[in-house]
Symmetry: C2
DNA sequence: CCGATCCTTCGACCGGGATCGAAGCATTCA
DNA sequence: TGAATGCTTCGATCCCGGTCGAAGGATCGG
């Protein structure tokens, strides 16, 4: 009964610990070089090279050669979403790699998912915009309303009118959608520019500054329901 | 940089061809016995037994022992969504197992995804309901409005008021969300009861009857945009 | 109780693939 | 040009895990 796409190939590609670490490192959205990824994955450069070739061949990564460096990124937001979906399953199965520590708490609060904001803060943004009518769910998926577009522009975001289309991304820690796509990306950039939050050293986690914390709460209020 | 859930374990679990076939067979939403799954996967019962034990252990499947039979199903809708996400990646990578044939076309038109309707017909249901205001996207995700609830009840669906909460499921062939959850499940059941469509032998594909085709188009119209 | 069916456990085999050392290109910089 | 750096290819090793035959429970029908 072989129907549909060959899922096993892709899953097997993600299923190796070294490759999974590579994908995890790239979930932050930054392009990383082969040697950096080798260190992240905990393998030698020649082993990493083999893995990177396979991931690229499998259309999970894309490469940008610059001088003697090769920068790798996730090939598409779809890849990031698939990885998050798998994280959700792994979390549900209780297969956390470490006992939850302070870093883990920080990750659940706010982190980079590909290029946008995830974690409870990310979900809060989504909910707040949805409640105030700045975000609608129509035929083509999630979309910013005109009011929402104006609202975010007032915030300092630079968004074309044809960039109202958004991506939702299932949050592995919250099990709820958060805001991805162009808008999500621009929003995170602006929040960092405003000094609301900064990346935690060597991690995808993001920590709010005291000032940013309260500003964020005011800007994206959410009613309990 | 080992952060978050252990994704490699889960992905490796899905990454074996035999296990992927098992998951694929269960995507139709029916409970299947160990021997049936062995046949689906193309391995002997003792091999399948080993795989099934691993999948159950990994919280991807759940088992119901009934007499000397053991019925397996996907452990949760999350599993089904993760599998669909992987199918999307595989399809994007152009790794279809077969050259697209008539069966493949049927699959893209309408199929079972877990217990609900997927494919272009599934997406059409979602879009139609969203356009007519029967479906909203709020803080807790996708939800049926009161009007939508009444609309579907008029259709013959039996739905509690507290079952307005819906699940969205990313469609691998359309790359767009379709309607899952309780409502999606009830809807598919009703459509089959009305004789609108019937399962294609030995496949997840669903084919519309002539009568069902036009009735469906009238019931779930969608404006082009 | 007996045979049939469903499923599992055990043991042995085998292959694919992950890994790293050594060597080879390519690029940059002095 | 020569040395250093980033990355890849090649080859050898090794181990994990998929596979099936044989045998052992478990459950049902009579």
């Amino acid at each position: 009964m072989k129907e549909g796409p060959d899922i096993a190939r892709i899953a097997a590609l993600i299923g190796d610990p070294a490759r999974a670490n590579i994908l995890g490192a790239l979930m932050a959205g930054h392009a990383l070089t082969a040697t950096e990824l080798a260190a992240e994955a905990g393998v030698t450069p020649q082993t990493a090279s083999s893995h990177l070739a396979q991931l690229t061949q499998g259309a999970l990564l894309s490469v940008l050669a610059q001088g003697r460096h090769r920068y790798f990124t996730l090939a598409s937001p779809e890849v990031a979403r698939a990885v998050e979906a798998l994280m959700g399953l792994a979390a549900a199965a209780g297969q956390l790699r470490h006992r939850p520590g302070p870093k883990d708490t920080a990750l659940r609060a706010a982190r980079r998912c590909y290029h946008h904001l995830a974690g409870s803060a990310g979900v809060q943004v989504h909910d707040s915009l949805a409640q105030s009518g700045h975000l609608t769910h129509d035929a083509s998926g999630l979309r910013l309303t005109d009011a929402g577009l104006a609202h975010l522009r007032a915030f300092g975001l630079i968004l074309d009118s044809n960039e109202s289309q958004c991506r939702t991304c299932l949050d592995w820690s919250e099990r709820r959608p958060h805001l991805g796509g162009k808008a999500g990306r621009a929003l995170l950039r602006q929040m960092q520019a405003l000094g609301w939050l900064r990346p935690l050293e060597g991690s995808r986690a993001l920590v709010f500054t005291a000032r940013g914390q309260s500003a964020f709460a005011t800007a994206f209020p959410v009613a309990k329901g």
